[in-house]
């Protein structure tokens, strides 16, 4: 059933590489950068990697087979001006694009061909003789040494021409039985269109669009698996025993509830006094911050977790309550994303740099995340919280290998264990040392490590602008993907009111004010001279 | 009965605000409230007209009298001004050759924003 709709979406998907329409009129291939003169400055900053390519230059690249940056196009004409010249330029530009596409070399040499066979039951593909750079970041090896690609990986590599896609000729055949010596008689080559027809849901198509888009940009991507309790997965928040967790986190939240009750009650009494105008008869304020401090007690706000310890608490209580408050929102973390890198370790990856939620804006069953949905997503996050790095900048960036765990063991310990496999004795010692160190840093964490160089108000603005926990929302709209970074903010924990400096305070005294002004004017003219 | 009188009072308030803004802030001249009225959703709509100090668009051949329809921001948000309403405004309140009117949206923060509305399709202006 769903295949029909899937097919319909193919056209939008395949044209998705450069979804922007080429409806602008092209001018000549002058790649002078002066075009920002006329163009509005509004979007220049954002559009860098969306800029359309000048196809006439692409041809030259193809011929020379050089890895170069494709130059930007010139500015657009406002309207058809009826001249032949304009027509000619337009024609040339269009022709250049088609030439660029038709002249490109495709296919692989037999020697380098890698065959992958799609398995309908598993919805995965088996790679027959795995070789190539993709092995380092994609696929997984089973216990008996078979190399399998997830469906998205399969399609992505097939589209790129890295693998040659096949399926078994007959449904009655079984891949496992044929395995030891599979030969071409049993295999049926697949076209890209065939593979697209294997998508199971619209959601899977959406996810693939996002996957392939980021993949082409060089990111490393894996799917976020559902079972958060899987010990073999890397996490910043190691699992603790059930007893400890219940005591620790439930008590913690109970305590918070009680204190917040107390605080709000106290605030109400206080507010009743402050917002009664006659209280000014009895209470006098001698500084503006006193007034602010009273004003700000009126509106309560949600405080967000800011330290590693607080983050771990949130994650643990999320895992404990996960089954209880199973929200009906289908939006959840879809992808782990790492920035392009060469030392990625597929078996023990570090925490991802970003986590992505895929959302289709035209699906009636989905809605843009509400505040509650967002809270849920924030609590489920498991990545390198970049704001922790920033807060510790001068103390040296946080070493995530010490603060991310697999099976409760810090990643750094696993790495060093792998390195010094021979010296087995020192293992436990290392782990203990690291644990000890971890405890120390955790204790230190909550106190904001003040760096000497950046002024406090600049740091404050940075905190306000960047926020805390964050994820990327990838919005699908008929093949067009928009990425949005959604971060928690906490303006309620920052005060920005103006506190006059000592100098300004002196001017305050009314009897001196006139004189002071005169002096100031004088000193100013001095400066000018 | 009272509701009606307060309604027309509201109307005259934003008409006055638009008139004052044009005369004293934008330096328009000969700003006046037009006589013709149109009843729309229980409110009498009138246009304010005046002569701007410069051409409002490069496409204009010369400075001309412009017609402004005052509207409150809250109304604007509630989609008080519909296509039907604008058609009626062009038909009943304007001359036959009026190509555009200007929406004067009065906000509650002391600002008024002006937007041109053209009757029919109009070539976009060059940026």
């Amino acid at each position: 059933m769903s295949k029909l709709t899937d097919q319909k979406d193919l056209s939008s998907l395949s044209s998705n590489h450069k979804s922007k329409k080429k409806n602008g009129l092209m001018r000549n291939d002058d790649n002078d950068s002066g075009d920002d003169l006329v163009k509005g400055t509004l979007d220049i900053e954002y559009e860098e990697d969306e800029l359309e390519k000048d196809w006439s230059e692409v041809i030259k690249l193809n011929k020379k087979n050089l890895q170069m940056i494709i130059p930007k196009r010139g500015e657009k004409d406002y309207e058809p001006d009826g001249t032949d010249i304009q027509e000619l330029l337009l024609y040339k530009a269009r022709k250049a694009m088609f030439d660029a596409l038709s002249n490109s070399v495709r296919g692989t040499t037999v020697k380098h061909q890698v065959k992958a066979v799609y398995d309908f039951d598993k919805h995965k593909a088996l790679v027959l003789n795995p070789k190539g750079a993709f092995l380092q970041t994609m696929g997984h090896i089973t216990n008996n040494g078979e190399f399998w690609l997830d469906f998205m990986e399969f399609l992505y590599l097939a589209e790129r021409g890295t693998i040659t896609p096949y399926c078994l000729k007959s449904n009655s055949m079984n891949l496992n039985q044929l395995l030891p010596s599979i030969d071409d008689h049993n295999l049926l080559p697949l076209s890209i269109e065939d593979i697209y027809a294997f998508f199971k849901t619209q959601r899977e198509i959406d996810e693939f669009s996002v996957y392939s888009h980021l993949k082409r940009l060089g990111f490393i991507i894996t799917k976020v698996e559902d079972d958060d309790n899987d010990n073999n997965k890397i996490t910043f928040s190691p699992k603790v025993g059930p007893f400890k967790s219940i005591c620790g986190y439930q008590l913690h939240s109970l305590f918070k509830q009680i204190t917040s009750l107390f605080v709000s009650h106290k605030n109400n009494l206080f507010n009743g006094l402050f917002y009664n105008p006659s209280h000014y008869k009895y209470i006098k304020y001698t500084s503006t911050p006193q007034i602010y401090n009273n004003l700000k007690l009126l509106i309560p706000h949600v405080e967000v977790p800011k330290t590693l310890l607080e983050l771990q608490h949130r994650k643990q209580s999320y895992l404990l309550n996960k089954n209880k408050n199973h929200s009906n929102n289908p939006l959840k973390l879809t992808f782990n994303v790492w920035k392009p890198q060469t030392n990625y370790k597929k078996k023990i990856p570090e925490l991802p740099d970003y986590q992505i939620v895929v959302y289709n804006k035209n699906d009636n069953k989905q809605h843009f995340p509400t505040n509650d949905d967002l809270k849920n997503i924030f609590d489920s996050l498991n990545y390198k919280f970049e704001f922790l790095d920033k807060s510790k900048k001068n103390a040296g960036t946080i070493n995530w290998d010490d603060h991310s765990y697999i099976n409760g063991i810090p990643r750094s310990a696993i790495l060093s264990k792998n390195q010094k496999k021979k010296i087995t004795n020192s293992q436990s010692e290392t782990i203990n040392n690291i644990k000890e160190e971890k405890r120390k840093t955790l204790r230190k964490q909550p106190s904001s490590s003040v760096s000497s160089s950046t002024p406090a108000h600049i740091k404050q603005i940075k905190r306000l602008k960047n926020g805390y926990r964050s994820f990327i929302l990838a919005v699908m709209d008929n093949g067009i993907i928009s990425f949005i970074k959604i971060s928690e903010a906490d303006f309620g924990s920052e005060d920005v009111w103006y506190v006059p400096t000592v100098q300004a305070k002196k001017i305050k005294k009314p009897q001196y004010q006139y004189k002071k002004r005169n002096i100031m004017k004088q000193s100013n003219t001095d400066q000018k001279v | 009965m009272e509701i009606h009188s307060s309604d027309s009072n509201d109307r005259s308030v934003i008409e006055t605000l638009v008139k004052e803004n044009l005369s004293y802030f934008q330096y328009w001249t000969d700003v006046q409230l037009e006589d013709k009225a149109l009843s729309w959703r229980g409110t009498d709509l009138r246009l304010v007209s005046g002569i701007p100090p410069n051409k409002l668009s490069n496409d204009d051949s010369e400075i001309q009298r412009e017609y402004i329809l005052p509207v409150n921001m809250t109304q604007h948000k509630e989609e008080f001004i519909t296509l039907e309403c604008l058609d009626l405004v062009f038909e009943k309140l304007c001359n036959k050759d009026t190509r555009r009117i200007i929406l004067g949206i009065v906000n509650s923060d002391g600002t008024i924003v002006f937007y041109s509305i053209y009757n029919g399709i109009h070539k976009p202006k060059k940026n």
């Binding site: 602010y292 509106i299 706000h301 306000l464 920005v496 305050k508 | 410069n54 923060d109």
Partner: protein, 406 residues
């Protein structure tokens, strides 16, 4: 120049709120927490300084407002010239109805009427002058560009193509024409760039550009004068409903009680149902929240959001944050009408991103029943009402993968 301004501004805007601290003629002695004697001394001094005079924090005479436009579209006006100035200088409240923000119309006009300045030689630092200047610059630039484009079109029309068949490879004529057009294009770009640079340098040297429009302005100044020949004060300061509420409920400087104010500005407030006050409450809660943490909160209408946050105020910093108040009331957002779809978010974020500001979505959540809120509301216990809403915030920002790779 800038330094001079900032010093004057520090004097002019030394109070961020319209309620001032009590002036103490002598500084208070230092309070040493570990020394009990210093405490006693401090309290003695405090009493002497603060309570010996009758002065308190409130204004001597409160500010009168005029609500026009009925309860459906209220406009809250401050008419008195000194009051307008006071509210602007002590927290940047309100907007001059005939100015960009600070009510400067009277000063500007008075200078013109007295012949001190003309409209185009006026103090270039006035916001209104800067706007006018930029508009003129853009206009001049466009005129030049138009002229150059006509030249280019002429050349294009002249350039005969070798054959009528556009497909043919073309002869020397075609290559030559293309080359000439390309050369002209490059020259024109250079010209436009130079023109921009020239404008920029005039701008820096403060050289006025000639504004023909303003010279030819047939402005009837006579009509602005009273019988004594003095300029009429035609400008008012308009307060947003949330600002007026803050200045009545939180810091009582307006000559009106909150209850009276709400009766005037909220529709059908006599037979109050929660729906009539809900939207106002959540907007006030957000306004108060940011104000109380020290921000100067002004209308965000220019950027399609609810509020702009300034540090200290518009003369000191650009607004870096745009606040959009999000109705997080389960009764409202669950219904489809009130749930924004992605297009809404995209629209608002592109406008704000284009202005290089940060968009904050500020979710306001009711923590108690509607019935309870209305009970307090009717009793006039507004602090309990506002205290029952909680703020939680997110930052919404466009993310470009290509710019986040390393």
């Amino acid at each position: 120049m800038a330094k001079h301004n900032s010093r004057l501004n520090n004097v002019r805007y030394k109070y961020p709120l319209p309620i001032h601290p009590v002036e103490t003629t002598l500084p208070l002695p230092e309070l040493l927490p570990h020394n009990p004697f210093s405490w006693i001394y401090w309290f003695y001094k405090y009493y002497r300084l603060v309570y010996s005079n009758n002065e308190d924090n409130l204004l001597e005479t409160k500010i009168t407002i005029d609500v026009i436009g009925g309860d459906s579209f209220p406009h809250i006006m401050v008419r008195d010239k000194n009051d307008m100035l006071y509210l602007w200088e002590n927290g940047f409240f309100g907007t001059g109805t005939l100015s960009r923000s600070e009510p400067t119309w009277y000063t500007r006009m008075n200078q013109i009427v007295n012949g001190d300045i003309t409209l185009n030689t006026g103090d270039i630092n006035e916001l209104e002058q800067i706007t006018r200047r930029r508009r003129l610059e853009r206009l001049e630039f466009k005129k030049l560009r138009e002229k150059l484009q006509m030249e280019l079109l002429e050349l294009k029309k002249q350039s005969a193509l070798s054959g009528s068949d556009i497909d043919s490879n073309g002869g020397l004529d075609e290559t030559e024409s293309l080359k000439r057009i390309n050369d002209l294009l490059l020259k024109q770009r250079e010209q436009l760039r130079d023109f921009k640079a020239l404008q920029e340098s005039y701008n820096k040297q403060n050289i006025g550009i000639h504004d023909n429009v303003m010279d030819n302005l047939k402005f009837d100044y006579e009509s602005l004068l009273d019988e004594n020949g003095d300029l009429l004060s035609l400008e008012s300061l308009e307060l947003m409903p949330v600002e007026a509420t803050f200045l009545s409920f939180a810091l009582p400087v307006l000559n009106i009680t909150p209850r009276e104010l709400f009766r005037k500005i909220l529709p059908n407030n006599d037979n109050s149902s929660y729906d009539t006050v809900h939207s106002f409450i959540i907007h006030y809660v957000a306004y108060h929240f940011y104000r109380s943490h020290g921000w100067c909160v002004r209308s965000g209408i220019k950027f399609g959001c609810d509020y702009l946050l300034y540090k200290r105020g518009p003369p000191f910093h650009h607004a870096e944050f745009c606040i959009n108040v999000m109705d997080n009331d389960p009764l409202y957002y669950r219904s489809n009408k009130n749930m924004h779809d992605y297009t809404w978010y995209s629209r608002i974020s592109r406008v704000i991103g284009g202005a290089k500001k940060t968009l904050i979505l500020s979710y306001v959540t009711r923590q108690t029943t509607k019935k309870q809120i209305m009970e307090w509301w009717i009793k006039g216990q507004y602090h309990k009402v506002f205290n029952s809403y909680e703020i939680s915030e997110i930052i919404y920002k466009r993310w470009v993968p290509g710019r986040n790779r390393d």
